[in-house]
Every structure is written in C-alpha cells, then in structure tokens.
Amino acid sequence: MTLLKIHELHAGYGPITALFGVSLSVDEGQILALIGANGAGKSTLLRAISGLIKPNEGLIEYEGRSIGGRDPHEIAAQGIAMVPEGRRLFPSLTVEENILMGACSRRKGPWTLAKVYDLFPILKDRRSLLSTMLSGGQQQMAAVGRALMSNPRLLLCDELSLGLAPMIVQDIYKTLQSVSATGVSLIVVEQDINQAINSSDNFLCLREGEMVLKGTKEKADRAKIAHAYFGN
C-alpha cells in the first residue's frame, strides 16, 4: 500500500527554487534511498515532506491525504519523523531528555524509552549525560532513538553516515532495516552511493532539483548512476 505519494513537487527557499517537479512514491515498509550530489535538492525534499518549507506547487499525499503546506508539528503528529542532518540533538538536554522529546506528539505504538534502550544499550549507560558529551556515533543513535519514540510510519533520515566511522554506519543501517521490517517506511538521504543502494529497496537520484534516475537495488547499474549523479 502506498504511504507517501509526491507529485510534481516544486519547492525552495524564498525566491530560490531548489526542486523542479519531483515525483515519487513510497510503500509501507519500503526503504527509498535518495542520492545525488551536494545541492541536488535531497534535503529540500525532506524539508518539504516534514513541513519545514511549504511547497510552491505540486502534491504531497500521506496516508491518502494532502499534507503539503501544513505545520511541522501537525505533520509530526501524523507519524512522519525525521533524523536531521548533523543529528541536531538538543545541547542543553540530557541524552534521556533528548530521546523523550521524540514522544512529544504522543503517538501510540511499540516504541518506548525502554525499547530504545534495548536497541542502543550504550545510551542507557549514558542517559544522564548532556547530549554533547556523546561520541558522534552515540549521538546518531540518540537521534534515531528520538525519532523512533514518535512511533513513526515514515522515517526520514538525512545524511546518517556524515562524519561517522564505517563500522558504526553499518550498525545504524542494520538497525534501520530491522525497523523497516516492522512496517515502517524510510526515506534515506545518503552521500555514500553504495551504502544507500545496498540498504534500500529503491533508489532515486536527484540532480539540480530534478529527478534523473530511479531504480531498484537489484537493477542498479553503476555506470548509469555515475552518469545521473554527475551529469555530463
């Protein structure tokens, strides 16, 4: 069943348009990887879905209803959670307080503080530290845990691997795949093309705000992707 459908989305920042008619759809439990160079519009797309920017044109449909132009907190309450680029934990809150912030939308579901600690035991040991005291990998775990606390149906992950050791990135992606197996859909923005394609069902490549290639993991063609990624 389709959870998210985007049709001919145009969006940007004030007078600057960053997305020119992007369309995609994500099914329940599916992982979609968004790839593309810096400035291709990947983060803009996530920001438009989560309501941080309002679409100029086009349709964003979630659970069969249009959500384009609604406020971020309303969209979050509908079950769309985000792990923002650079993690963006709240620096003056402890690790536990950060994770609890994810529960602000009061959505019912399987995720609780105890479940997040089961998933990332290290966070339980460090729960009363300020979030700034964690290593990069632990911060990323806290950011993922925080997003899961909202019991999302759609999880948006922006540049999870940025600045992290490859081993930790592997672990976090394994975790996300187990989350997706429970029926949660994911959109993953990733610079690392191999990581992105291997850990997803479908991929979509953006360049300069337009969709230039899409495919499935099985049929990914390196040459075509490289061409789509960099252009001519």
């Binding site: 941080l52 907190h73 979050a76 709240f90 003056s92 809150l93 609890l100 602000c104 909202s150």
Partner: protein, 290 residues
C-alpha cells in the same frame, strides 16, 4: 561593622525585589528572544489591577495577587498568541518595536483611566512591621518579598528542569526547528512562556505597588532596573537574574549610604562596569541554563 552588615542586608532585601521584578523580563528574553520594552509598564498595570481589585472587593492587595497573577497569565498568553508570535523567529528588532508601541499605548490608557496621579497599595501593618536582630532592623515586608522571590525562582527552576513542559521549553530554546519536527507547537510554547512571564510580572507588580508609589509613567524606571538586573546576571539564566538583582540592590544601598541621591546612580555605575568588564553577565547562558 554593624553598619556595613546592615547595609549588606538592606541591599539583599532590595535585591530580592529586583530579582523578582527582573525575572519576567529574563524569561521572555530567555525563551522567545523578546526584549520586552513594555516590561516596566506591565508591572505598573499589575499594580493598577491591584487598585481596581482592592477598590471593588476591598481585600488586602497581598491577597489580590491570587487574582492579579492569573489575569496577567491570561493576558500574556493572549498577547503572545495574537501579536508577538507573528514577530518571533525573525529579527530581534521587530518584537522590540512592538513592545515599545505597547508601552506607549499603556502610558496613555493608564493616564486616561487612572489620571497621572501617584497611587499606592495599602497592605496594612505588615508594611511597617520589622524584626530586630541586635541593632539591625529587618523590615517584614522587604523580607517577605525576598522569600517570595526565592519561592518563585525555585518553582520556576523546578518547572524548567523537572517537568515535561520545562523539557519542551528548553529544547525549543535550543533549536525551535527540530523541536517542531518532534511534534511541538512552538508558538503554543511561546504563548505559555509569555503567560508565565506575565504571571511573575503580576506578582512582582502587585508587590511593587505596595512597596512604592506609582503612576502611569513610573514603568520606565522599573524597566531600567529590570534590564540592569538581567544584564548583570547574564541573559538567559534564571539564577543569574537572581544574582543580578542582588548585585544591583547592594550597589544601590551602598550608593544611597554615601549620598541620599546616589542610590540609583550607583546601580547604573555597576551596570556600566559590567558592560565593560563582563558583558555576558555573572552567569551567562551555557554556565547555568534557563
């Protein structure tokens, strides 16, 4: 020796009032980044609310605080919801200009309704009662203000650090955008923040009306003292504002002791000294977070 102990005690007692009256300003800046130019005038409004309530029901103005604080709470919520929320998130100048406008409106409305005459709230015998420790006399009313200040500060600190609401406020101060991604209606949080700030102004304003005589134009001085308190203490820090109030109170009493006309002046001097030497204040945000 006794003389200086007395000066210090009187300074701390006055500081208790500055700490309480500066807290509302500290809170609205700390949470919403709103520099509330109408802060002093809201203190005066709370004092006039006391006049109205005492006139209508004939109760002691200290008891009237139980009505003034909730009324101010509601007014703060409405003000933020209807007007100030349109200005947050952009330049800090916009809310400053809006509250400046509110200040002018309040001056005129208060003069129209209550005339320009000075008024004072009469709380009865507590105002002149004092306890003597050796040769030092401690006024019961200033002591009560200090106690109220500590109670309000402790309550606010607990709200900020031990409740879900406080956690959401601190997160929203850190990063309003991510807070909204967590499902937080940040504008509602700002409205509740302003409501809290105004409730505290309500308590402080009623006590101000008992402590001093006031007129529609005395809000300016109160704004200045509150500003000095917040800047000396360090913007965005709750307990810093308390320390700032103490520093200002003690400086004013020392100045007053040197020459009867130098009280406020000595406070201004200390304030200037802080601007030069430590403009971030005693406890800047980050040392001891709001």
């Amino acid at each position: 020796m006794v003389e200086w102990t007395d000066t210090l005690i009187q300074g701390i007692l006055l500081g208790g009032f500055f700490a309480l009256s500066g807290l509302g300003l500290s809170l609205s800046f700390g949470i919403m980044r709103i520099v509330n130019i109408a802060h002093g005038d809201f203190l005066v409004v709370a004092a006039y609310l006391g006049v109205v309530i005492v006139g209508l029901v004939g109760i002691n103005p200290i008891i009237a605080i139980a009505i003034i604080a909730p009324v101010m709470y509601a007014a703060g919520y409405g003000l933020q919801r209807s007007l100030l929320n349109k200005a947050v998130g952009g330049s800090e100048l916009t809310p400053l200009l809006i509250t400046f406008g509110i200040s002018i409106i309040l001056h005129n409305v208060l003069q129209e309704v209550f005339s320009a005459d000075f008024k004072s709230l009469d709380a009865g015998s507590i105002e002149i009662a004092s306890i003597a420790i050796g040769n030092i006399h401690i006024g019961l009313f200033p002591l009560s203000i200090l106690v109220v200040a500590f109670v309000v500060y402790s309550a606010l600190y607990r709200i900020m650090h031990n409740t879900r609401f406080g956690r959401i406020v601190r997160a929203t101060v850190d990063d309003p955008e991510v807070s909204s991604l967590m499902g937080v209606d940040t504008k509602k949080i700002y409205s509740l923040g302003m409501a809290l700030s105004m409730a505290i102004i309500g308590i402080a304003g009623a006590l101000y009306g008992i402590k001093s005589s006031f007129s529609p134009m005395t809000g300016g001085d109160q704004l200045l003292f509150a500003f000095e308190t917040v800047i000396i203490g360090g913007m965005g820090s709750i307990w810093g504002t308390m320390l700032g109030g103490m520093a200002l109170g003690i400086s004013q009493i020392i100045g007053f002791k040197i020459h009867a006309g130098w009280g406020a002046f000595a406070g201004h001097l200390i304030f200037f000294a802080f601007l030069f030497v430590k403009p971030s204040g005693l406890l800047a945000k980050g040392d001891q977070h709001a």
